[in-house]
């Protein structure tokens, strides 16, 4: 029952702009949510999805633009303001009190009162009614944490109903649910939709988005790309909108992907059946001298999980690894580094920069860790490493003594690239090195990768921007739903072909 565009929107967000230091997270984005529809918000990491949600739930205040709910202009300073306007959120991590009972959680703050304070009997009766309206029959006196995540999420939705939510935001609700639980959740969502609740749904599972949504809004790099009825947006068109086509002048490195690779010797890295239960189904990867292997797939497809297993950041529970033709064990990042690997995480802030340390200290951290604390890098050597990479990568501002936290995302990324290059790796794993950074820095980083691989460095390159992957990589591993679904020679496939492959190909089928 797709919603009608003629229905006046319940939530109207117009010209929403939110800027963080150095980054425009949202740039004049319009978003409309109508009663009685399930509306999916799509976009890769850094597209601005979560920023938009946080603007709507009062976590962030907007720098410009307007938010109308049910016709009234609202300004959300706190999350309580948003709740007062009838907007409720159910997060991936359930934000309830796990140690309280189900009934207490549902009614928290709205407990019916009797003469002697809270009437606990009535609390549980009312809670049971709310749960029953969602088709749930639970013991309301049981502790919340005794239930599965799926049930906890449904309890969170019941709680939203107690708050009389007109708008329900579901942020990645299905990421830890199994198939049956997803069905149960979806039937509750459909029920609520039919009762006129406006539902904003965020998930990186394409199948689920197409199953539940009436409408899709796509964001990219903080900008609105488009709003479509589900029927008007085939999957490959969606993927294209999410990933975009970057029109930067990168002619100088355009042919890096077509370079011939000598694959006669032993691969620098060869992994067979590398996997971890519940995280990644076994995958095979090989990388040769001077080769760039791209990994393509949407967020959550397993691309990050795969390289983390290779690097020992997470422990694999199946598979074998050979480095330079010899069986090797990599159980932790130190061992990986000792064997010539380097890994730059996609999560720059949480897993990359050490924010209070200076640019110079961040650059030499990997090398210093390798040498051990007893052998401090002599000042002269340190200065020469730092100044070499400051120039080679064009880090701005060019003062290495300021804390890295003061740099823009793109420049932080350059410093991290320098950190890894300083360890002189044989294999460099870059997970989303160009995410959320400006076009100039993107080009700088790609150029450096192309140049280094030509000099013999092997690289595994992950990016949501498929054009980058095709431009740099000679081979592309394609992932979907935590599975390796194929491997392509990048000279045999163009952007549309790759998008089509990611969106539609069944496992084992051949690329066009």
């Amino acid at each position: 029952m797709p919603a009608d565009t003629d229905v006046p929107p319940l939530v109207e967000m117009r010209g929403i702009t939110i800027a963080f230091p150095g980054v425009l997270a949202l740039d004049h984005v319009d978003f409309f949510l109508r009663p009685g529809e399930v509306h999916s918000l799509m976009g890769e990491n850094g597209a601005g999805k979560s920023t938009l949600i946080k603007a709507l739930t009062g976590v962030y205040t907007i720098d410009s633009g307007s938010i109308h709910v049910a016709g009234d202009e609202r300004s959300f300073e706190t999350t309580a303001d948003a709740q007062d306007a009838g907007i409720s959120t159910v997060y991936q991590e359930v934000n309830l009190c796990a140690n309280l009972s189900v009934g207490e959680n549902v009614m928290l703050g709205h407990e019916p009162r009797g003469l002697a304070g809270i009437d606990w009997k009535a609390v549980h009766v009312e809670a049971a009614q709310h749960l029953a309206s969602l088709g749930l029959d639970l013991d309301t006196r049981s502790t919340l944490s005794a239930h599965s995540i799926a049930i906890q999420q449904l309890v969170a939705i019941a709680r939203a109903m107690v708050l009389d939510a007109k708008v329900l935001i579901l942020d990645e609700p299905t990421s830890s649910l199994d198939r049956g639980e997803v069905e149960q959740l979806f039937s509750v969502i459909r029920d609520l939709r039919d009762k006129g609740v406006a539902i904003l749904f965020v998930s990186h599972f394409l199948d689920q988005v197409y199953e539940i949504s009436d409408r899709i809004t796509v964001l990219r790099n903080g900008q609105l790309v488009g709003e479509h009825l589900i029927a008007d947006l085939p999957r490959d068109a969606l993927v294209t909108e999410m990933i975009g086509r970057e029109l930067t002048d990168l002619a100088a490195i355009a042919d890096a992907g077509d370079r011939e690779i000598d694959r006669s010797g032993a691969p620098v890295l060869s992994a067979q059946g590398m996997g971890r239960k519940g995280v990644l189904e076994p995958a095979d990867v090989s990388v040769y001298d001077g080769e760039v292997v791209g990994i393509a797939g949407l967020l959550g497809s397993g691309r990050t999980e795969l390289v983390r297993l290779l690097y020992g950041a997470d422990r694999a529970d199946s598979g074998s690894l050979e480095l330079d033709g010899e069986a090797a064990r990599v159980h932790n990042p130190r061992q990986a580094m000792a064997q010539g690997m380097a890994f730059s995480s996609e999560n720059r802030r949480a897993e990359g920069v050490v924010s209070d340390l200076t640019v110079a200290e961040n650059m030499i951290l990997g090398l210093q860790a390798q040498r051990g604390w007893l052998k401090p890098i002599p000042k002269a050597e340190r200065d020469s490493i730092v100044s070499e990479y400051m120039t080679a990568l064009g880090v701005r501002p060019s003062d290495p003594t300021i804390p890295i936290g003061n740099l823009s995302g793109g420049n932080q990324q350059k410093v991290l690239l320098a950190r890894w290059l300083a360890t002189a790796p044989e294999l460099l794993i870059l997970d989303e090195p160009t995410r959320g950074i400006d076009v100039g820095a993107k080009a700088d980083i790609q150029r450096k990768v192309a140049e280094l691989s030509e000099q013999g460095l092997s690289v595994i390159f992950i990016s949501s921007e498929l054009e980058e992957v095709l431009r740099l990589a000679q081979r592309v591993i394609v992932m979907r739903d935590r599975r390796q679904i194929g491997e392509l020679d990048s000279s045999d496939v163009d952007l549309d072909g790759l998008i089509d492959y990611i969106a539609n190909t069944q496992e084992g089928s051949v690329a066009k």
Binding site: A350, E351, V353, W373, I377
Partner: protein, 358 residues
């Protein structure tokens, strides 16, 4: 001038200097230093001498806090170390006035403290127990162990070499001052002339990024607790030497809290990461000066905890960035209203002020 104010040690130093000035104004004798037999005496010299135990403990605490940890067991470790040392010196077979006996006693006691520190480090870095809980174990059990070692009595000794450690003089200044100065320098050199300091900060600021960068965070955290235990052991000996007794209940009582206070006053964040050894030295001297102030101004014992607390609150407020901002905006408003009273339109000065607040 501006860069001086921005220096991270500016506000801690300002607090210390203010405290000293207040004392001198209240009683000029505070600054008086007399020379007797070529040795210096006076309230300021006493501060240098008496701060030795707290200085050593706070030094170790700084390293532990830098790793995002905390060591609550330092007081108990002091008690154990004092008990071990004095029991050895007091044993019937040894001569308490021989330097050999005393040195062996110190060595054994410090080794025991080192092992206790290593135990804390094991719990935190290998077993992953929260630091506050891990060190609480020893905080409670340590004093019990110290009581066992002294058979439940307060062991007293008369040992000249031991007394020298706490109250003797080297050249013109107290020996205890040289002890803490030596350890400040040793720790400073180890942390800042090797890469240990930087790696410790990296682990404290972002453990996951450090792990991915190949930093041996386990070893670094372990080292910090070992250092903390060892330094607390030395502090315990100085404390015992000062009172010529091993008092398992009183030795290092609440010193963990004073050490944390000193570290924070010195500008190291309890969130871990960036640490300043010079800052900790200033913090300890501030706490110690405050202690002397209470004695010197003759604050009655019943009121001294309240007095102490009030001054600590003032010192912390003086250092708080939010108070600085508030002070600036009040100053700006003051200037603004002065100007507004003359020629300028009254509303205009409010404009830049809003930006300051944001």
């Amino acid at each position: 001038m501006k860069s001086l104010v921005k220096h991270r040690l500016f506000w801690p130093s300002a607090a210390l200097v203010t405290l000293l000035v207040v004392n001198v104004v209240a009683n000029p004798n505070f600054a008086k230093i007399t020379v007797r037999d070529g040795q210096l005496y006076g309230a300021l010299i006493d501060i240098l001498r008496q701060s030795a135990p707290l200085m050593l403990v706070a030094l170790g605490m700084t390293l532990v806090i830098a790793t995002r940890g905390i060591d609550l067991s330092v007081g108990a470790v002091m008690a154990v170390s004092g008990a071990v040392a004095l029991t050895i010196i007091d044993s019937p077979s040894s001569n308490p006035n021989s330097w050999g006996t005393v040195l062996i006693a110190i060595l054994v006691a410090v080794l025991v403290a080192l092992v206790l520190g290593a135990w804390n480090g094991f719990l935190v870095s290998v077993l992953g127990i929260q630091p506050i809980i891990a060190t609480l174990v020893l905080m409670l059990a340590g004093r019990g162990a110290a009581l066992l070692i002294t058979d439940g009595f307060i062991t007293t000794v008369n040992s000249d070499p031991l007394s020298f450690i706490a109250s003797g003089y080297l050249l013109i200044l107290p020996f205890a001052f040289f002890v803490w100065l030596a350890f400040v320098i040793i720790v400073g050199v180890i942390e800042r002339r090797t890469a240990l300091g930087m790696l410790t900060e990296a682990v404290g600021i972002n453990p996951e990024a450090s792990r991915l960068a190949g930093v041996r965070s386990r070893g670094i955290i372990w080292t910090a607790y070992i250092a903390s235990g060892t330094l607390a052991g030395i502090a315990g000996i100085i404390y015992a030497a000062n009172i010529k007794a091993a008092d398992a209940n009183a030795a290092g009582y609440l010193i963990e809290l004073y050490a944390i206070l000193a570290v924070v006053l010195g500008g190291t964040s309890l969130m871990g990461g960036k640490f300043s050894i010079a800052g900790t030295v200033i913090g300890v001297l501030t706490v110690q000066a405050l202690d002397s102030t209470i004695l010197f101004l003759g604050v009655p014992p019943a009121q001294s905890p309240v007095f102490f607390a009030v001054v600590v609150i003032l010192v912390v407020l003086v250092q708080a960035p939010r108070v600085h901002r508030w002070g600036r905006s009040v100053a700006a408003r003051f200037r603004g209203s002065n100007r507004g009273g003359k020629d300028d339109p009254p509303l205009e000065p409010a404009q830049p002020q809003k930006e300051v607040v944001r």
